[in-house]
Symmetry: C2
Amino acid sequence: MSATPPLYGGIEAGGTKWVCAVADAEGRIIATTVIPTTTPRTTIAGAVRFFQEHRTLTAIGVGSFGPLDLRTGSPAYGHITATPKPGWAHTDVVSPLRSALRVPVGLDTDVNAAALGEWRRGAGRGLETLAYMTVGTGIGVGAVANGRLLHGLLHPEFGHIRVPHDRTRDPFAGSCPFHGDCLEGLASGEAMRRRWGRRAEELDDPGAWELEAEYLAHAVMNLTYTLSPERIVIGGGVAKHPGLMARIRARALDLAAGYPAIPELTDPAAMDGYVVGPSLGDHSGITGAVELGVRRLALA
Amino acid sequence: MSATPPLYGGIEAGGTKWVCAVADAEGRIIATTVIPTTTPRTTIAGAVRFFQEHRTLTAIGVGSFGPLDLRTGSPAYGHITATPKPGWAHTDVVSPLRSALRVPVGLDTDVNAAALGEWRRGAGRGLETLAYMTVGTGIGVGAVANGRLLHGLLHPEFGHIRVPHDRTRDPFAGSCPFHGDCLEGLASGEAMRRRWGRRAEELDDPGAWELEAEYLAHAVMNLTYTLSPERIVIGGGVAKHPGLMARIRARALDLAAGYPAIPELTDPAAMDGYVVGPSLGDHSGITGAVELGVRRLALA
């Protein structure tokens, strides 16, 4: 009866920094550290050192930037694959952590981890189907569908959908190295920086934010018509701009044009509860990463 | 040991006709009939009469045109809701069938039924995640995600996503009464008829079909980047045009531009197995409708 409760590790593995946390099975965080993302070897070694201070860890979960190979049985399972980030293409993330720490390691995309975090402990509790969209340097979506994270062929790469681009209103050709003017190429923080010559945080021009809301409202509606989530959580640094969420909701109602005639797409109050910010603030990702560890243990 | 095997009913409830079938639990069809879609009362009565000839039915499944209220617990569960089809808005489909036939009745969208049919007995067998897109008078998507039909907020209404529309190349304003130039407004059979003044079956102009392939390739890629299905089945009358599938696949490979670098999006042979026609031909919907009955019984 006096056994110590099990502890889990979580890593929010981003392109700039790795946030590492130790938490209990309920997601209460006990210790954290931040490691700059340098080379794979140095970064992973830093995470290992942090976790080795906590002898009782029973599993670790990683929410990582991608693309990732998540197909169990694939020889490259657990690898970051064709990322443009220098030094990180084809990096095995799972094996070195598992070897050094001798615990099961769960892995999913950073946005799937954030979706899982919000679904278990935040704005998506009790729902069957939830989408989490991050709008920061890039744009991505993670989703829980029918109570499980969505994978399929690979995992959602929602930043790369195409949305209408009126070149008269917005002559910017787009910043995506693959697609030019896909959603990420038009509406990510990087796209804003290149279009306006200034970082999103420093941008005040109402026209710039109206254009941003236009693209993100298209994103909300395409996500709604494709995945039919019960709620859409929008996180990430760009989404924090004051007033942006209200503009997105208003424009999404315009675009829906009353179809289908359900409250979420016709009534502004219901829309306010449909497109929301993250309940966990900046902790959606790390909370979900810990939960990936808890779930990985259940499978181990 | 000599018990008669259970029989199930299925209805593919379309806006023009209702296809009704009696089948065994393995989906083998024993009897069918076709009833024109007139008023709700007459059409439903015709279906009831057909099924009453088969005393041993144990459950019925219906794949219906929509939109539908599928939220269990909703007062309007089992209703066709805000359809523009005259006489059919707010029609309760489930209750009259259940009352007259005294069997459990399963209901889902026509495209979810077709997705289920292809997933259980056709091109999607063994997959976790499958999308079925129909391109006929309208455009719709049904999907199995994580082994279950996708519902969420309502159900996918994929025909209404927006895709890029170059008005220089295609000045047609679109045929959707709600959105104008959404996907359905640009690429459905109805859109083709209004743009070209001729039904798709009578249309030979290669430019018309190149434009059609452009929109449907955008649909394929947006679906891929959002839902990440393991396979996309494209059915419906318009999709039968010779050469159209090959054009869609080729253009989808162009649009993917190598991202992410997986065989399905980079290798034409793998793409051929990723975007396919229905294995069940014109029977995806009725096969899935019967399966909705089998599944409804499991829940009853």
